[in-house]
């Protein structure tokens, strides 16, 4: 027991001594320590900045994509993500999706919890001399909100009767409200008259601000019954149909939709679908592919700089071992074992590297914050990135410090004491 206790105390005091020596050498040779760690600092800084920006992008992208319903399938003529111009032209030649398909889906999609048609057009909204151009006009039904993520701010959303009677009722997005009714309380907007492309409508409600989706403003829109939309802005436009289901029913829903649409659109069994089922997930998947590649590049760059930094540390540690040969001899004479000397130098190199990593992490996060401030990019600092930055550089210090440390430990005490 006593021996064991001795060994523990010895290991602890030797480690503490190692840390003390490392600290005193770091402080004693500040400029050199700084230059030694510069490689690590730059490497970690680069990686942390890139990772912080990618993670920031991830967060903002996922928040944006969440404005599309997570569990909604959008049936459209076009696929959201096209492979190339040829594919796009092929999709352009597809038959439009219309009422026939909508009614079939309503009849047959047993797993659906909400079904909303969507007819789109660009338009101008005016009121009492004020005008907002380039507004997205969306013709839909009462279930539209249930398929996405918007919520009503004032008034009400479209009702079934609005659709049945094709009423001139409009629900306005936040930007349209702000520009047509500057300074007006949201509640006062309800009941006001506006024109959409010159036709009279009554505002029945407004939508709370939604932000942007992939650079598209989700607040510059006006929502009206699709029945009215077809009368006022043309019934020949292709519809999209948003169909929502419980998360566990999504696959079954897609199967149902494919079956229904192929039958209604009379697609021969040997032909491919002449419609597309789009989901939010597709964006996420494509996005992850892109950022995955970015991550790969960041990690590659980081590894290369860390190796360069590691070689810098190895170089300095070799110099340090040579300079301190006599000291090593003295320590050996006083009873330090080889592994004690090894430990001492490993502690020193990993502390130097970890400090470099800490500084690099701080700088990297700073750079990411600056980029986030001056550009539209977002930045996020996760604790794991910080830990990884510091831990990884300490590992580099350990790895590249091991050869110098081994050389120090192998020194012959007699030779070392005599070294001039």
């Amino acid at each position: 027991m006593r021996r064991f206790r001795r060994a523990v105390v010895r290991a602890l005091s030797e480690t503490a001594e190692g840390v003390r020596i490392a600290a005193s050498n770091l402080v004693g040779a500040r400029l050199r320590s700084f230059l030694t760690t510069l490689g690590i600092v730059i490497g970690v800084m680069t990686v942390i900045a890139i990772v912080a920006i990618i993670q920031g992008l991830n967060q903002s992208f996922e928040a944006q994509v969440a404005t599309l319903g997570a569990h909604t399938v959008y049936v459209s003529k076009f696929a959201w993500i096209a492979g190339g111009p040829a594919e796009w032209w092929a999709m352009r030649n597809r038959k439009d999706i219309g009422r026939k398909e909508l009614e079939a889906v309503r009849r047959e999609a047993l797993h659906a919890t909400a079904i909303a048609p969507m007819a789109m057009a660009r338009g101008t909204v005016t009121r009492a001399g004020l005008q907002v151009d380039n507004v997205q006009l969306i013709g839909t039904n009462a279930e539209y909100l249930a398929t996405g993520s918007g919520s009503v701010l004032a008034g009400r959303f479209l009702a079934e009767t609005d659709v049945e009677l094709a009423r001139n009722a409009a629900v306005l997005g936040a930007d349209v409200v702000d520009r047509l009714f500057p300074g007006v309380e949201p509640d006062q907007v309800v009941g006001q008259r506006v024109t959409l492309n010159g036709r009279p409508y009554t505002v029945v409600g407004t939508i709370a601000r939604r932000g942007q989706l992939l650079g598209i403003n989700m607040d510059a829109n006006a929502i009206l019954p699709y029945t009215r939309f077809q009368r006022d802005f043309g019934g020949k436009r292709s519809l999209s149909i948003a169909v929502t289901a419980a998360p566990e029913d999504l696959t079954a829903l897609e199967d149902e939709l494919v079956g229904t649409l192929r039958r209604v659109r009379q697609v021969p069994p040997d032909k491919k679908d002449d419609f597309s089922l789009n989901r939010q997930e597709q964006f996420l998947r494509l996005y992850r592919q892109l950022t995955g590649a970015l991550y790969g590049v960041a990690i590659g760059v980081g590894l290369i700089t860390l190796v360069v930094g590691g070689i810098g540390i190895m170089n300095i540690m070799l110099v340090s071992v040579t300079e301190r040969t006599r000291e090593i001899g003295v320590r050996r004479a006083l009873g330090a074992r080889r592994r004690t000397i090894l430990l001492q130098f490993l502690i020193e190199s990993s502390i130097v590297a970890a400090l470099g990593g800490a500084v690099g992490t701080a700088l990297g996060l700073g750079i990411a914050q600056v980029i986030a401030l001056v550009t539209p990019l977002a930045a996020a600092a996760t604790p794991s990135a910080v830990l990884l930055g510091i831990g990884f550089s300490a590992g580099v210090g350990l790895l590249f410090g091991s050869w110098p440390a081994w050389r120090a430990a192998r020194l012959d005490p007699v030779e070392a004491l005599r070294y001039e």
Partner: protein
């Protein structure tokens, strides 16, 4: 069996080096014993083998042939780790150039052997202070070597050698880098320590210094050429300046 009672038993010790393809016999069959409490000078001119002998006695090196028993341990069979532990426990080194760690305080320098022994921080501190007191340096605990005079540095080194209560103090030309007055103080300190019971081996090339020791072992060309009272052995063949 007087051997087992002796602190140091050296028998037929050889240490050969190969330099430039040629074998150099730095030590060529050296035998002697040293008992506890002795004050022995190992004297000889440079190249006589005394440094090699000191390295062997200090367990820094192992012999090519022969046996060396220190306080019951057969040194020639020990592993590198065991040698390190033995040095830590049994040997207190005092070097010509002091060999203090420049960035550490006197106290930290003296504590060092105890760090490698696994002595707790508090006990280390207390023992180091006591050792510094024993060499008369109570007022210099927190000075660094470059803030101390040569004599004070050597006192710190002696305190460091004493702190682990080793069986032997092994001093290699301890006065070589000091002026004669300070050197004299250090020699007196050794004499005092010997009176208090410490075994001291003093390696020197100076006959005068060796002559002051109760016993001297004289080396020449790797062999013992004299072993007896310091005043007799050391000055034989040396230029003696009578006052």
């Amino acid at each position: 069996m007087s051997d087992s009672a002796s602190l140091i038993v050296v028998e037929e010790l050889h240490r050969h080096y190969v330099v430039g393809g040629e074998e150099v016999r730095a030590l060529d069959g050296v035998s002697f014993t040293i008992d506890r409490g002795e004050f022995v000078a190992i004297v000889g001119q440079s190249g006589s083998g005394k440094s090699t002998l000191m390295n062997l006695l200090g367990c820094l090196d192992t012999p090519t042939r022969g046996t060396y028993r220190l306080n019951g341990s057969d040194v020639e069979h020990l592993t590198d780790d065991a040698l390190a532990d033995l040095r830590n426990r049994e040997i207190g080194f005092v070097f010509q150039t002091f060999q203090l760690l420049p960035r550490a305080t006197a106290l930290a320098n003296v504590e060092l052997p105890l760090v490698y022994r696994g002595v707790s921080r508090r006990e280390r501190r207390a023992r180091a202070e006591a050792a510094l007191e024993a060499v008369g340096l109570t007022h210099r605990l927190h000075h660094r070597p470059n803030e101390l005079s040569g004599g004070q540095r050597q006192r710190v080194a002696i305190a460091r050698a004493l702190v682990g209560e080793p069986s032997i103090l092994l001093a290699d030309e301890p006065t070589g880098n000091l002026d004669s007055a300070t050197g004299e103080e250090i020699v007196r300190l050794f004499e005092e320590l010997n009176e208090r019971g410490h075994t001291i081996i003093l390696v020197t090339h100076e006959p005068h210094l060796a002559a002051r020791c109760p016993r001297a072992i004289k080396l020449s060309d790797g062999r013992v050429v004299g072993d007896g009272a310091g005043s007799e052995v050391a000055l034989v063949g040396a230029r003696v300046v009578h006052a």
